[in-house]
Symmetry: C2
Subunit: 386 residues, 2 copies
């Protein structure tokens, strides 16, 4: 199973929106017969790749009959773009299937295991489950909640400053932390930022991985831009790959470059029963003026879920960070702390004035690691439920 998990990591940045799955087939003595991982969407899944690999290595049906199969997620039971994997395993008459995790996809959800057991193949569940869950945390989130696992990345000084007061932030953290951040971007189906960051930093927010010329998948870049004020000359719009501009019902005459799509998702938009984040409602607005329309952040996440985004990587400024945190939409924090203090400067998240200390958005520690002179902190929301 350890090898199957390693293989499943090879599918990161490749298999989205499909899960990252590895599969290893051995004989009864534990000798490797074949192995593989999920390919690009529409391509073969891990089980099929492993069976093909075994046959390519000269193992015939007799060798496969009774074999042990280690797979990091329950084999699919439905006809999607490829035939169901549990049928391929049943046809090969393997002896036993070890599953790290059941697939919460309602099209699978235990049916894969049931299909195998009905074919007389014993199934064992749970080996390597924790690691398999980490690798597919975004897929699990989308299957269970219909929206991506949201990971917010912040680079800051020890005292929580992300930039000097004038916005200068290049560079607070070192090159190792920035490269590490690229690998986290690679895990994500989409990268979310706000208009402020586009204006201040003019980032490309694309994938630039050391040693990889053109990654098989470029994450979708998403900009929360209520009034559609992103300049057409912004580097994020000029660099290759798709960009989704989410606005709050604004109109714009900007000639958007190719690959740019705009979508209105205002708070309180028709068909969305959610109220959005507190303070946005007209009733709460002093002076009786209509409030500035804002992007409905839960609706934004639901839209990304519909588009098959498993992990959403947020690289934004204090305003969007604060809105996401206040709305309880952040599942994970990925913070790089430089070992320096800046004193005055921009904060991590604009949360407004908290009524008391207990109102602070709270997380649980997941990991700390030293990355080339900076400290990487990872934290999770308590009890994710997936």
């Amino acid at each position: 199973m350890a090898l199957a998990l390693s293989l499943s990591r090879q599918a990161i940045g490749l298999s989205d929106p499909n899960p990252r799955v590895g599969c290893v087939i051995t004989d009864r003595a534990g000798r490797l017969l074949g192995a593989g991982h999920t390919q690009q969407a529409g391509g073969p899944h891990a089980e099929v790749m492993a069976l093909r690999d075994a046959r390519a290595r000269g193992h015939d049906e007799a060798a496969l009959a009774g074999a042990q199969v280690y797979v990091t997620l329950e084999p699919c039971a439905h006809h999607g773009r490829t035939p169901p994997c549990c049928e391929a395993l049943a046809a090969a008459k393997v002896g036993r299937v070890h599953l790290a995790l059941l697939d919460p996809n309602p099209l699978v959800a235990g049916k894969g295991r049931a299909h195998l057991e009905a074919a007389g193949i014993a199934c064992e569940l749970g080996l390597g489950a924790a690691e398999a869950r980490e690798i597919n945390i975004g897929f699990l989130s989308r299957m269970v909640r219909g929206r991506p696992h949201v990971r917010m990345k912040i680079a800051a000084s020890l005292d929580g400053r992300t930039a000097l007061p004038d916005g200068r932030s290049q560079w607070i953290t070192g090159p190792g932390a920035r490269e590490d951040g690229q690998w986290w971007r690679q895990r994500a189906g989409a990268i979310l930022t706000g208009l402020g960051t586009v204006r201040d930093d003019d980032p490309r927010l694309d994938l630039r991985l050391p040693g990889i010329e053109s990654p098989p998948l470029q994450p979708l870049r998403v900009i929360a831009d209520s009034r559609l004020q992103t300049p057409a000359t912004a580097r994020i719009l000029q660099s290759p790959g798709k960009v989704l501009l989410i606005h709050a019902g604004a109109t714009s005459t900007t000639p958007w470059p190719e690959g740019v799509e705009t979508l209105a998702l205002p708070v309180g938009h028709p068909g969305d029963p959610r109220t959005g984040h507190p303070g946005d409602q007209p009733a709460c607005h002093p002076g009786g003026q209509a409030p500035e329309p804002k992007v409905d952040l839960p609706a934004l996440l639901a839209e990304l879920g519909r588009r098959g985004i498993n992990e959403l990587h947020v690289e934004a400024g204090a305003t969007l960070n604060g809105a996401l945190l206040k709305a309880g939409l952040v599942d994970e924090l990925l913070i790089y702390l430089a070992p320096a203090l800046l004193g005055e400067g921009r904060g991590m998240a604009a949360l407004g004035l908290l009524p008391e200390l207990t109102a602070a958005p709270r997380f649980e520690w997941l990991e700390t690691a030293l990355v080339d002179g900076d400290l990487r902190l990872r934290l999770r929301r308590a009890s994710l439920g997936y």
Copy 2:
């Protein structure tokens, strides 16, 4: 040596201003003959305690002759409040002395080893040196620089806020972090704070160790209070133990309680050639008014060094923290980060507006540890030199 180091830790909170030293005596086969650590100032040192312990266990002079001695710091060679330890070891005719560290005290500084070698006792240096240095980092600082090792303790949220904007800070971190902070206070000969913290939090800043009714030493409490505005009713003045109020030449009619001493150390005070921190000089002051007199922080540290303070524990607000950091006087940071974000609030250190990112006070990572739900970060100034 591992046992000697453990014993030396028993002298923390006991032996100040003397170093924390442990000593173990074994026979040639490594069997324990005696062990001990430094007692309160004026009491016996570790070597004498270990020799006494060996004799109390019934080991006579014949048993001690040729014994192996493990001692975490070079035995003293001078007559202080006790006779020199190297004479006691030489008199016992031990066979070999393993020294973790040489003592940088100019009264010792290699003379202890020379005395032993002249008496025909072989000396070996360096076993356990790194740990012995950590335990005595403050003593080494005072011997080498004439001032304490300065450790700044900060409790903050993930985004670097030490309090809500109105000053509420109880409690950002949990009870485990607060108890851990007490053990770091115990290491310190003195605790430094500023008038702002006294006014805002009214802390006692004394030692309240779980399971220890009355600690043998209470650290000196030091308040940097340029204009002598500490209220006589402040809890820090009312609780037992000594308090040193450092001011900048102010006068006060406050009836200070017993145990409170005041001392003027203004920037540019007679006899101190140092200029203090930038911005305090009249030439830099706009409008031609005389600047507010301030406490000379380097002079404050030199004064504490003269008083035998090895480690200084700083628990202050952003103003004093910022002044110490800007003056380059902070050797170590001890930061407890709660896994929550506060958004708006008080910062760790008021550093003024930095001209560029590279002007930020910078440290090196020493340790991270999870303490009861909070993350403890320890950082050091690069190349301490002791």
